[in-house]
Amino acid sequence: FYNDGGVKPKTKRSKRFLESRAPKLTEDVKSAMIMKGGNTSLTITQALKDLYSLRKPNAVLYKKKNITRPFEDSTSLEFFSKKTDCSLFLFGSHNKKRPNNLIFGRLFDFHVLDMIELGIEKYVSLSEIKASKCPEGTKPMLVFAGEAFDTDNEHKRLKSLLIDFFRGPTVSAVRLAGLEHVLHFTALDGKIFMRSYRCLLKKSGCRTPRIELEEIGPSFDFVLRRTHLASDDLYKLAHKQPKALKVKKKKNISHDAFGTKFGRVHMQKQDLSKLHTRKMKGLRKRKGEVVTGEQGGQAPKVAKVES
């Protein structure tokens, strides 16, 4: 195990710890750190707590206030992310100019990639909505509605950031009965409405159930404020996948409409006149018979067994 330059692990435990923090081919879930700014309001503290509960167990909630301004100076954010190995952050603050401010952000290689500031206009917390909640850690279904998420650049980045933030760990299979949580984002007139529902699978005529929704979780009415988006090449760099993950395509295999597998066999050029085919004894020319053409003079060839 290389630990070039830095600390050489002395115990198995420290080695495992360092390996979990090292860059990997397929990465695990991103962790989020949720922190407060210099001044916070009740709305903000409640909102942060609710979002933390949505994001558990891959989140850390800091209790103390951090007097930093992410849009001006991101060094303390980067330091925190290095310490806790988190690549997503949520920073809540409140002042007169920007009341009830939430900054969603993500980092690449411990440097800030994107930061988007959203202001909360209306907020209904988890505790205010009296309904039975989903268990923690269920992978939510995400729905984005509105053309802005496709047309406007900032909204597109916001969409990608929200997907990163709210999707859970990548799983290979999901339990059909466990699809309970739905997060719905609607973009309209520069505002983004976030609602969280619990879906009930009702009987329908066929196999697929009918959905009925019941509002549970926190509901937010966001307004888009400042953004700090990564430059295009940094964004591209962050998306670079390692070559080992690319699926190697097997050459020379093709399928037709019926699913039959085809391949191509390459052969050298054959001299067809010297081709030894199967000899049908019954069809062989007999000595007595009259034969026409060039083959008259030739005696029938000795049967050469082709293996």
Binding site: V143, H184, T186, P242
Partner: protein, 347 residues
């Protein structure tokens, strides 16, 4: 009659209502985009601001959400399912939305020296058991580490082998050997890392260690001098600096096909020497050399004892040189004299 038709109508109306409530079909202008691997659905349809009034906002949002979720669930239900321990599970495809990574992808590490060799020879890794039976302790102990089986360092009795000096401290010898092995391992590990990072490790003498000998310094100076663009041709020497010895080609070979007469001469001389009865080894010279070697060793041993524990100094190179020197001396005397340590008089 009328009652029947009314009943029929009511029944039909009820049935239609029930149908509507149970239907899973959703009508949308534009189809949604699905990324089932992420359980994601994107609705690009225009949302009319008219529908979006203050009182009905929540209801509008909820119905929109319901429709979209229904479509997503329809998609998910199309996936192949299997039964895993009394739960029905749908296998998700790979997520298709490109999302940025956390950290840059790891670079593939070049194989270490041993790994290259093993690949070349086709050596497979053999999995070893964790525990080994220890005869002395009569129990299973781990193969290496704390309280290991058959621990060399814990032996209280070491037989002095016949070929060794009776006054030599065997325990100290073992400890020293272990220290040297550890240092060698560490050096190899660092070399592997340097090779992986393509950091050029300069040769012996150029990375300054603690106590460098005179010829190491001279070598370092000569290497530094020749590492200019014109390979040191225009570098002036210091006033008292001597020309470095042992530079230039280490061995000079005659060209394969060249001077025939020269070659013939050489071969005839060789045959003459082989024929003659004169011994090739000058015994007195060899014996004197051996005596000088021994005196030098005693002097250095005294110095080392006096200096105490200072001596990690470029241990590898020092040891290499020492071994080389001893080997040569031994070989020269080996033809004439007996074993290495025997005094010449004893023959």
């Amino acid at each position: 009659m009328a009652a029947h038709s009314v009943e029929a109508l009511l029944a039909k109306a009820e049935q239609e209502e029930a149908e509507k409530l149970r239907s899973i079909a959703v009508h949308k202008e534009l189809d949604l985009e699905f990324d089932v691997g992420n359980l994601l659905a994107c609705d690009k349809n225009r949302i009319e601001s008219r529908d979006f009034r203050e009182q009905k906002k929540e209801d509008f949002l909820r119905s929109l959400a319901r429709d979209n979720t229904q479509l997503l669930i329809n998609e998910i239900w199309k996936l192949p399912t299997e039964r895993v321990e009394e739960a029905i599970v749908a296998k998700l495809p790979e997520p298709t939305t490109p999302l940025p990574r956390e950290k840059p992808p790891p670079k593939p590490k070049p194989p270490t020296k041993w790994e290259q060799f093993a690949k070349l020879k086709g050596i497979q890794k053999k999995k070893k058991t964790n525990l080994v039976w220890d005869e002395n302790a009569k129990e299973w102990r781990r193969r290496w580490g704390y309280k290991r089986a058959n621990d060399d360092t814990k032996e209280w009795l070491i037989e002095v082998p016949e070929t060794a000096d009776p006054n030599e401290d065997q325990f100290a010898k073992r400890v020293k050997a272990k220290k040297e092995r550890v240092a060698k391992n560490e050096l190899n590990r660092l070399k592997n890392i340097a090779r992986a990072q393509k950091v050029k490790v300069p040769g012996v003498g150029l990375t300054p260690t603690a106590q460098q000998s005179k010829d190491e310094l001279v070598r370092a100076v000569s290497v530094a001098k020749t590492s200019t663009a014109s390979v040191g041709r225009f570098q002036d020497r210091l006033p008292k600096e001597k020309a470095p010895k042992n530079t230039g080609k280490k061995r000079k070979f005659e060209p394969l096909i060249g001077d025939f007469s020269n070659e013939k001469q050489k071969q005839l001389e060789l045959l003459k020497v082989m024929d003659s009865k004169k011994p090739k080894l000058d015994i007195t010279k060899a014996v004197n050399k051996q005596m000088r070697e021994e005196d030098r060793e005693e002097a250095s041993a005294k110095y080392k004892k006096g200096a105490g524990k200072k001596g990690r100094k470029g241990n590898m190179s020092g040891k290499g040189k020492g071994k080389g020197g001893k080997g040569k001396g031994g070989k020269a005397a080996g033809g004439g004299g007996g074993k290495k340590r025997s005094k010449p008089g004893k023959r």
